[in-house]
Structure formats: structure tokens, C-alpha cells
Amino acid sequence: MSEPLLKVRGLKIGATVYPPGEKPHNIEIVHGVDFDLERGKVLGLIGESGAGKSTIGLASMAYGRGGVKITGGEVWVNGRDILKTSLKDIRGLRGGEVTYVSQSAAASFNPAKKIMDQVVEAAVEQKKFSRRQAEERARALFAKLGLPDPDKIGERYPHQVSGGQLQRCMTALALCPEPDLVVFDEPTTALDVTTQIDVLMAIKEAIQDTGVAALYITHDLAVVAQVSDDIMVLRMGDMVEYGETDQIINRPQKEYTQALVSVRSIEHEEKKPTPEPVLSVTGISARYKGLAFDVLHNVTVDLHPGQTLAVVGESGSGKSTLARVITGLLPPREGEIAFAGRKLSRDLAGRSREDLRELQMIYQMADVAMNPRQTVGTIIGRPLEFYFGMRGAEKRKRIIELLDEIEMGEKFIDRYPAELSGGQKQRVCIARSLAAKPKMIICDEVTSALDPLVADGILKLLLDLQKIENVAYLFITHDLATVKAISDSIAVMYQGRVVRYGSKSQVLSPPFDDYTDLLLSSVPEMRLGWLEEVVAHRKMESAGH
């Protein structure tokens, strides 16, 4: 049998960490991983954040990001151990034999240079093609990847094309030098779900047509199932399970893999609307200062006590703007907001302390929503002082109660945010908002920055707390799985309008409007061949129209 293209043996990777209050020290983040990749095959590396998947991907280019260093093992590419070769040889490998597609093309393209210059650069520098040949290849790749106007798009600057288009340009950049291996590092994670599907298909076809091998890194098992031949599941730097895609998806052996496959198994019984909604938004139109057009058009929704209204939409749909209007940060141009039976002032300055207390908010980025110099106890205690004037032992007792409610407990009271995990940080933010005893909480993408299993835990907690405290949630998200898991009613937003609104069962049952149909059918499903089915179905439909 011939030598595999990429052979990794006993790969160990270390990093220097700077924990607060301690001396910097070295830790091991990947503890000896083995795998092979044959020419033309696709291996999916899957795991949660901190699993070491990106680090392993970059190790195949002998690259360590930041303070990351490869500390042991062998990485064989095309028959030589690249950890033992010269820097000059590694430069020839990077951008020549192995190329890289990053998560955020928007950040990975140099804003000061034209797309074409960047796409052909590696191929020309590595002397694989002349500039003219490379440009021809690039144009052919642009066309293959379904970019509009493939002959001209290279003349544009990165900011002049959309995020989805730029991600395809990044794929063209990686394929242009005719590499043997491409490392795709979460290439569709930052995209909207309806955009993701096209980019995913473009990447898959490009891989098939060029016969290139690929490492496909993602945290989304449903996505990796569509593109890879084999899957390796990683957890905290260790390999958990490694096998063919079909086996991993349909017959996972290890408990952790089974948990990943069955994630989002929350059952939530839809509640009936009550006669008195806690929040009534009527005919809201709003625009940002200096803009000549509305970003919200005539939005009307109700939220009932103790229930969850999910506001779902893609980036730019106006869902976060709606939250800003409700909180008073952006006074609406037209329309009214009624809350707990009274009319709310349009802007923040006109609202009473009671208004502020009863309407709380939780954010996507728990890190930046907390003061890093305050302890968990201070953070949660602040609303207790501010709204209820609590002091001393009484305050501490209530803080501990809240910590127990979020399943963390007293031992966290003196910790700083930097000492908490992502999920714990979000729990503290939840406790802080609950401390005000609100009638309603706006949750703005609160699980989007979290790993699936952790996000599941947060959703379960939110549902449990809802039962106890009878608090209503306005849940803003782009993730339809989350919507299905927790909502009682749903508002689908598109370009600043509510295009579909009703109870969960109504909104998620046919007949659908075009946009909701597109949105629902774009959510990756965890089964082989799903991608092809959807794409074929869409082609048929567009041919039928």
C-alpha cells in the first residue's frame, strides 16, 4: 500500500498560558494524536472549543498560532516529516502543498489589496504557476465556486463583496496553487444558514472536482457529515472516536460521540397564550440616526407571561434592533410598546426604575458583559443593591440562592470572570438578570458563542428557571434548533419585517411562505446525503418556476 499523503503519529502540542494570579506556564493541549489521510479523501475533525482541532489542523502546516508549539510526534506530508525539515522547506510546503481556509474570510483577507492579488499570491510565490496562469486558474475557480462575474470579481477589494462570497474567494485562494491538502477551519461557521448551504456545496464540489485531500474542522457534526469520508472526534486534546462518517453518525460507539449526535434533545411543550400579554409591541418602525430608511417596518408581536417568544432571522434581519427598541436604547419612529399593562416611554431616559428592573437583558458575549475586575458575588449583588437596597448578610444569602439556582453554588462567589468557562460566565449573567426579579428577559443570541453541549445546558436551565420564576423570554436567535427547543411562539424576521408570526406549531407547520421554507430547509440535518437532496430539490423548484 502506498504511503498516505498525511500521516500523523503521536502528535503533542503545547501552549504557554497566562492564568490570572499565577505565573505563566506551559500546558499540553493535544496529547498524542494519530491519523492518516489518503490522497483525495476528506477527514472531518470535530469537537468543542478547546478540543485542539484547529491546532491539529495547523500542525499539518508545521504552524502554531500565538504561543502554541508542537512539542512531540511526527507529521509526515508527502513522505517527509515536516517537523524535522528546514524552515525553507516548510515555506515551500505552506501555500504550495498544504493550504488553509480560515473561519473568517473577512479577517483573513488583507483589506488593502485586491482579491485577485491575494488569491494568486501563493501560487506565484511558490513558483507553481506564472502570474498569468495563476490568474486564469483563479478565474476558473471563481466560476466553479459559483461566484458572480468570475472574470471581474478579482479586481474588487475584500470589503466590496459579501461574507459568503469572500468565503468562496478564500476557498479559491486555497485551491489556486493546486495543493495536495487543504485545511478547512470552520469555513461556514460565521455564515448565515441560508448562505452556508451554498458555500458548503461549492466547497464539496470543488474538493470532488480537483481531487484534493482535505481536513475539515468544525464543531457542527451535521455539517461535517455532508462533506467528509472519515470523522475523528476530539475532546480536550484527545482522540475520542475515529471512523467512517456513516459509522460515527449512525452508530457512534463512545458516550461522548453519542451525546454530540443527540444534542438538542430538549422537549418543550408549547404553552397556550394567556389573555394578558406581558409585552405588546404594536406597529414599531425604527431607523438609526443618520440613515434615510427604516430598519424595522411595522413590527407587531405579543409575549405572554411565563412564555418564550423566539425572534428568528439571519444577520441584518432587524432582530437585535427590535431588542434595542424594546429596551429603549433606540427610540422607535412609530409604534407603541406596552409592558405589564402600562405604556413604556420611547426612550431610556423616560423609563422608571421599576420599568428597568422588570425588563432585563442577557447578551451573546458573556465575557464583555461583565466587569473583569469584579467578582461573581459583586456582579450578581449589584442589582440586589440597586433595585432592592440589600446589604451585608441579606445580600450574600440572596446571591448564594441565585448561584444555587444556576447550578453553580457558593464556591464561585469570590471568583473572577476570567476563571470561569464560557457556559459558567453565561450562567452568571443569567443570575444577574434574575436578581432583579424581572417579568421579562431579552436573551440576545445567548447560546450562539457556546459549544452545543454547553448551550444545551443553558437552554435547559433557562426553561427550568422559567417554570420557577414565571419569567417571560424574548429569545433572539438565528439558530432554528434552539427555536424549536424552547419557544412557545415564533416571529420570523426578514429585512426588518416580521414575515411569519404565531404559535410554534403554526409557524413550523406547512404551508410555508418562501422565506421560512428556505430558512427551515437550510438547517443542516445529521444524515448522509442531506446536502445533495436539498440542492437537488432547490434546483428542481427553480426549474419549475
Binding site: M61, R91, R94, A107, S108, N110, P111, E125, R156, Q160
Partner: protein, 318 residues
Amino acid sequence: MHPIVKLVSQRFALGLLLLFGASAMIFGLTEALPGDAAQAVLGQSATPESLANLREEMGLDRPALTRYFEWLGGILQGDLGQSLTNKLDIAESIGNRLGNTLFLAFWAAIVSVPLAIFLGLLAVRYRNRWPDKLISAVTLTTISIPEFLIGYVLVYFVAVKLGMFSPLAMINDSMSLGQKLNAIALPVIVLTMVVLAHMMRMTRAAILNVMQSAYIETAELKGLTNFTIIYRHALPNAIAPIVNVVMLNLAYLVVGVVVVEVVFVYPGMGQYLVDHVTKRDVPVVLACGVIFAAIYIGLNMLADIVAILANPRLRHPK
């Protein structure tokens, strides 16, 4: 309208407004000083009558605002007024000297700006290694030593001991370019040493800042060499802060060279200004002040405009 045109014309208008404000301030401050031109001319021999006569003759008895606008109107027509001490037309006297100052500043810039940027790039390339530390140490030393000291030391060792270059930087119109350059070699070296550190360190900092970006990683993963990455991918994105500090230093080369001009007896604006300040020749001081302000504001405006032009988002809108 193209957003660039709008932004640039805004900057331009702002620059003019600023210059107007600066002229008012310069005029106002000299007004606020005790004594006036008439007193300066008459000196010790002044009697109240002769002062009043002279003030009337010079128009100093009219309101300050009227005189300000007359003065400003004159400047706009190229009339900077007349020197009190030698009765010469100021515009004419300054013309030649300003040319000399700009000549010196130009050659100092030609040497120092590329050198500073190159040393900045080099420092980034060998960050925290000995070339970086050496560059930092040497440039910091040269900026820390007073420029007149460097000037005299150079005069003594280079000009006197080694016999290279002229110790006096006297130039006149009859000299050829080569002779002129030979004459100003020492002041150019001194000025370069003074402005180098600031520009070099800003270049280093601006580029290091850009080096954190994800697109630098992309460049590294293309297998480019470090220096290619720095000048091809990092430098174009660090233009704005670098140009800003370069312009500040160019302005310094014009308006801050007084000491160096005195040390090398160079017939530039600085010498001229110092001479007339000691003689309390207010019209000359006013004229020099406005010209310096104009150069300072002009160069900074240019830096702003370059920063706008360097931004691809503004240059190529969606």
C-alpha cells in the same frame, strides 16, 4: 459625490478654518504683550508725544480688529508688511530664507523618512532580538542628546578633525547643487538624528499592531518570507499612523530647526526669526508665526488626506 472628494474637501475647509484661527491667535497674543511696535522703535527715547505721533503714523491707534483684518488682507495678497528695524519688505526677506529652510528640511526628510521606515521594518523583522534592540538604543540616544551638542560635536570631529564637510552651512544662490549639499551635510545629519527615533518607533509600533491581524497569518500560511509579509501585507495597512508621525516630523524640520540653524549659521527662517524677536520686530514675528502655522497645518492636513486615501473602504466604496 464620491465620498473621498467630500472627505478631502472637508479636511481642506477645516485646515483653512484652523489657519484662520491660528492667525487670529498669533495676532491676539502679540497684541496682548506689553508695549507695541512704536515703543520698540523709539526705545528709551520715547516720550508720550512722540509715541502718540508714531502710533498715528503707523496706524496703531486704530482698533485691533481693524488692524487684524488689514493685516490678514495683506497676507492674502502676499503682503506681509514692512520690517520695523530695517524697513525692508518682509515678504521679500523671508522668500529667500524660507527657500533655504525648505531646502534643508527637504534633504533632511529625503534622508530620514526612508531610513526611519526601513529601520522600523527591520526592527519588526528582528523583533526583540539584537538588531531591534540596537536600533532602539541608538535612535533613543540620538533623540535624547540636545541637538546643539550633537551639532558642535559633529563640527569638531567631522569638520575640524577629519576635514570633511563644511563646519558652517552658509549657502547662497551662486553655489552649485553639489556645493550646497556639501554645505548642509552636517545639519542634515543632525536633523536626521533628531527625528529618526520618533518615526522609526511609530513605524515599528504601527506595524506590530497590524501583525496581530488574521490576514498576516494567511500570509504566513502562504509560505511567504517574514520580510515579504511585513512590507507587502503589514505596511500598506499601517500607512495612516506612519504618515501622521512623518508629517509631524516634517513640520518639525521646518519650524523647529531654529537651534540647528543657529549652530551652523544657516541663513534660514529660524535665524531670521530669532534675530527679529530679540529686536522686538513685531511684524516680522507675526509673519513668521503665520508661515510656520500654515506649514504645520498644511502638513497635518496632508497627513489626514493621505490617511483617507490609504483606506481602501473609502477609496473603493461598495
